[in-house]
């Protein structure tokens, strides 16, 4: 795993190296003193093994062959980063307030987890603010991206004249379900995207096909992970028409699913969309706890997918999966 930093000040670089060595000595540290070389490098390597990016904005002119060369700035790098899947957190460390604001805005629009630090007092800010931010961002995000194929799927997304975002999402969800089933728990786990209708009922975005859910068969327990459980409360509730659309209710009954488990988690991909996760186990047993990482992984996958759609104003996409 790598930590990639745009910073041309030698004293700052030294202080940052010490911070990284103190806690993340297993990570490869890459410094760049100009924007374009950093972009060129990351264009080749991608971001999927990058645990953290930290960006300064204003860089010193570089002497090359007797001439002074413009090294570019952090905004240039941020513009490139925003074109990528939001799979790594970014720290913006610049005293240039307007540039810092601009970088934060660029990254925010693209859905990146980002944090702003305004340097102070020589290099003191590095051992104080920057150190704790680096630690918390890496510890908080790196393990959640354990399935490299998530990135591959999104990287392979391409324009397609036919189809719809929902169809693409269905494909992503199905692939993710199958992958998670194989890697997390042999007894199965599946995903479906639900929409909260204006009448307060849950319905399936992808229709009632629920191909993977069917494979789980009767007796499965369902977990619905949502940012807003106001309408439902939390905990288990029986499959009923009060909460579910007729179509969805009928399908669940046909599958023999009788109980739904509702959990509240951190804000999700969209206020309109709810990640729906079905597992064989109850939510309180150990196997289900083991699945929690997979649930986070699936949410991460969906977040990337949604950003891809929203960035292009929901231009229809097709995702090619191997």
């Amino acid at each position: 795993m790598r930590i990639v930093i745009l910073e041309d000040n030698i004293d700052r670089q030294l202080a940052m190296r010490q911070v990284i060595a103190d806690r993340f000595s297993g990570h490869i540290l890459e410094f760049f003193v100009a924007a374009q070389p950093m972009i060129d490098h990351l264009s080749v390597t991608g971001l999927y093994d990058v645990s953290l990016i930290s960006l300064d904005n204003d860089l010193e002119l570089i002497e090359k062959d007797g001439c002074l060369v413009d090294p570019g700035d952090g905004i240039e790098v941020a513009r490139w980063i925003r074109s990528q899947p939001a799979v790594t957190p970014v720290i913006v460390h610049t005293t240039n307030m307007s540039a810092g604001d601009q970088i934060m805005e660029l990254l925010s629009e693209a859905g990146f987890i980002r944090e702003r630090i305004v340097p102070y007092d020589g290099e003191v800010w590095i051992s104080e603010r920057w150190r704790t931010s680096v630690r918390d961002l890496i510890v908080g995000t790196e393990p959640h991206r354990t399935m490299s194929s998530n990135g591959v799927q999104i990287l392979r997304a391409s324009h397609h004249g036919e189809g719809s975002p929902e169809k693409t999402l269905r494909e992503i969800l199905r692939a993710a379900s199958l992958e998670l089933c194989g890697s997390v728990d042999p007894s199965g786990l599946c995903l479906e995207l639900l929409r909260l209708r204006t009448d307060g009922l849950l319905e399936s975005v992808t229709g009632t096909g629920l191909p993977v859910l069917r494979e789980l068969g009767a007796g499965a327990t369902i977990e619905i992970v949502t940012e807003s459980a106001d309408s439902f409360g939390t905990g288990p509730f029986s499959v009923n028409k009060r909460h579910l659309s007729d179509e969805f209710y009928s399908h669940l009954k046909w599958l023999g699913i009788t109980q739904v488990q509702l959990d509240v988690v951190q804000p999700s991909v969209s206020r309109q969309a709810i990640l729906f996760i079905a597992v064989r186990q109850s939510s309180t047993d150990l196997a289900s706890h083991r699945n929690q990482f997979a649930i986070r992984e699936a949410r991460s996958l969906l977040e990337v997918a949604f950003r891809q759609f929203s960035r292009r104003n929901e231009t229809p996409y097709a995702v090619h999966l191997d």
């Binding site: 806690r23 790196e142 929690q292």
Partner: protein, 123 residues
Amino acid sequence: MKYPLDDENYERDIRSRAITSQLPDGAYVFVRDIDGAVYVLPDGPHQHPKVLGSAKPAVYAGDFSKRGQFVTDLTNLSGTFQFEDAAGLLAVARAFEEIGLTIHPGAVRLFSYSSGQRAQILR
């Protein structure tokens, strides 16, 4: 058992103490000594060698965050000790539970120093 890579003879920090459930909320580094006791210090730059001091060896080291009775993250991150066996970190988690702390699901995270692999969630 490992000795710190930084073998400078640091004094033991006077704030170093055996972990208890009454520890104030915050971020900490920890070192488990060869007798199995877990000592902690408030997080800060290069704190691990100062938890036991005198370049004493440890059987595990890392850092964690505590909120209330919950340990919200627990890792093997320590540049000077660099333990990376999962069993040792899980044993520390059990030691935390034995004194009444609750390990948040997904909190125990093992980082690699040698393989370049991304971190794993152990439990």
